[in-house]
């Protein structure tokens, strides 16, 4: 009962935030590329980014504590480092390929229920975070309000992790565990499709 009340309040907060965006969006004249809305939409409209972020959350939930809470704290910081490289025009080879590979590898980790040491998982996820951040940093629209856009982008990525973690928590039950591993397999297959150029 309390949990459903919390969820309802959380949804209302989110709805208020989205609603508050609308007049600002219309008023600023930045178009869809500008401000919080543009930043929020940026990662969500990149399917390769979406599945990789969800896979990160799924894997975190599978690994349990401390990975489940360490991941959403560390990932945005490492991703921002990659984003800074992209914004400043520092070249990074094979960014798109690395993003597709991240979906394959992270999906496989979930599908195989892999449990490497925490530092291995952190290094793997952190390495991929740099490529994801770089891609988004390089694509950041010039006319956007930098702070609002960056905040929208980071919040959307964080919420994708939380979506993955929420679904991953189903792994506590046998049927849920199967569903989570199947989702990991689907993500890996989608990653292969991205890798082979099917978008």
């Amino acid at each position: 009962m309390l949990r459903s009340k919390f969820m309802l309040q959380a949804l209302l907060v989110l709805a208020a935030a989205v609603a508050a965006e609308c007049p600002a969006f219309a008023h600023s004249g930045d178009g869809f590329s500008g401000g919080f809305t543009g930043g929020f939409a940026h990662p969500i409209f990149g399917p390769d980014h979406v599945i990789a972020m969800v896979a990160v959350g799924l894997w975190g939930a599978f690994l349990g504590a401390p990975a489940i809470w360490l991941l959403p704290i560390v990932f945005p910081l490492v991703m921002a480092f990659g984003g800074v490289l992209g914004i400043l025009g520092v070249p990074l080879p094979g960014v798109e390929t690395a993003i597709a590979i991240s979906a394959v590898v992270l999906g496989l980790m979930v599908a195989l229920a892999a449990r490497p040491p925490l530092w291995v998982a952190a290094a793997l996820v952190g390495g991929f975070a740099i490529f994801h951040g770089h891609a988004h940093g390089a694509e950041l629209p010039a006319g956007a309000n930098s702070v609002a856009f960056s905040a929208g982008f980071v919040v959307a990525t964080g919420l994708l992790h939380l979506a993955g973690i929420s679904f991953g928590l189903l792994a506590r039950w046998p049927a849920g565990r199967l569903a989570v591993r199947a989702a990991g397999g689907a993500i890996a297959l989608a990653g292969v499709a991205f890798l082979s150029g099917m978008r």
Binding site: A16, A24, S28, F36, P76, V84, G89, V147, F149, A151
Partner: protein, 197 residues
């Protein structure tokens, strides 16, 4: 509504409010009330205040007053510098760097030595003051706007600190650390954009 949701609402609504953009006047609201709303309608200022509020709120109650006082004094100094027509300063960039550092400190949840916290609070106050030049013609209206800005920044900080100080459960502390990392990441990216331009 729980305290965590209140903080989340403040974050989402404040960073989402990009209407004010780069110090453009708020349509229909000027003078004191325009100044009052300025700190929460300029995304960089809202981000800086949130980072500092979370940081101070995480501290022991004995350590909060010093940092808050440093913020207030530095804010007044920054606003006074505007009245004295100080020239162009890199206050916006310094504020973002400060927000990134404070966000990272919130994320690691290990309080630094007290003087470091005070310095970060002072930097936030001074840079918000220096980065708030009112877009008005008369000196009197400009001063009233700046008084509103000072009051708005102090009230916003006080609200964030107060709400944060109630978040003592494990999952709430965790939520704050995640928020801190989001603030640090956003500030780093925004800073890079400004450098690149």
């Amino acid at each position: 509504m729980s305290a965590f949701l209140r903080v989340t609402a403040v974050v989402l609504l404040s960073v989402g409010a990009d209407t004010a953009g780069a110090h453009s006047p708020i349509e229909g609201i000027d003078g004191f009330y325009g100044g009052l709303l300025h700190p929460i309608l300029v995304p960089a200022h809202a981000l800086g205040l949130l980072a500092l509020g979370l940081f101070i709120g995480q501290q022991d109650s004995r350590h909060r007053r010093g940092a808050a006082a440093m913020f207030a004094v530095a804010l007044v100094v920054g606003l006074a510098a505007i009245v004295l027509a100080v020239g162009q300063t890199p206050a916006g960039e310094v504020l973002l760097a400060d927000a990134a550092a404070l966000g990272a400190l919130v994320a690691i949840a290990r309080p630094p030595p007290r003087p470091v916290g005070w310095l970060a609070a002072a930097v936030t106050g001074a840079t918000i003051g220096l980065d708030s030049p009112p877009q008005v013609i008369s000196m009197a209206l400009g001063t009233i706007t700046l008084i509103g800005t000072g009051l708005g920044a102090c009230i916003t900080l006080a609200i964030v600190v107060e709400v944060t100080s109630y978040l003592r459960r494990d999952w709430q502390q965790l939520g704050m650390r995640i928020l801190g990392s989001w603030i640090a990441a956003s500030a780093m990216l925004a800073l890079a954009v400004r450098w690149a331009r």
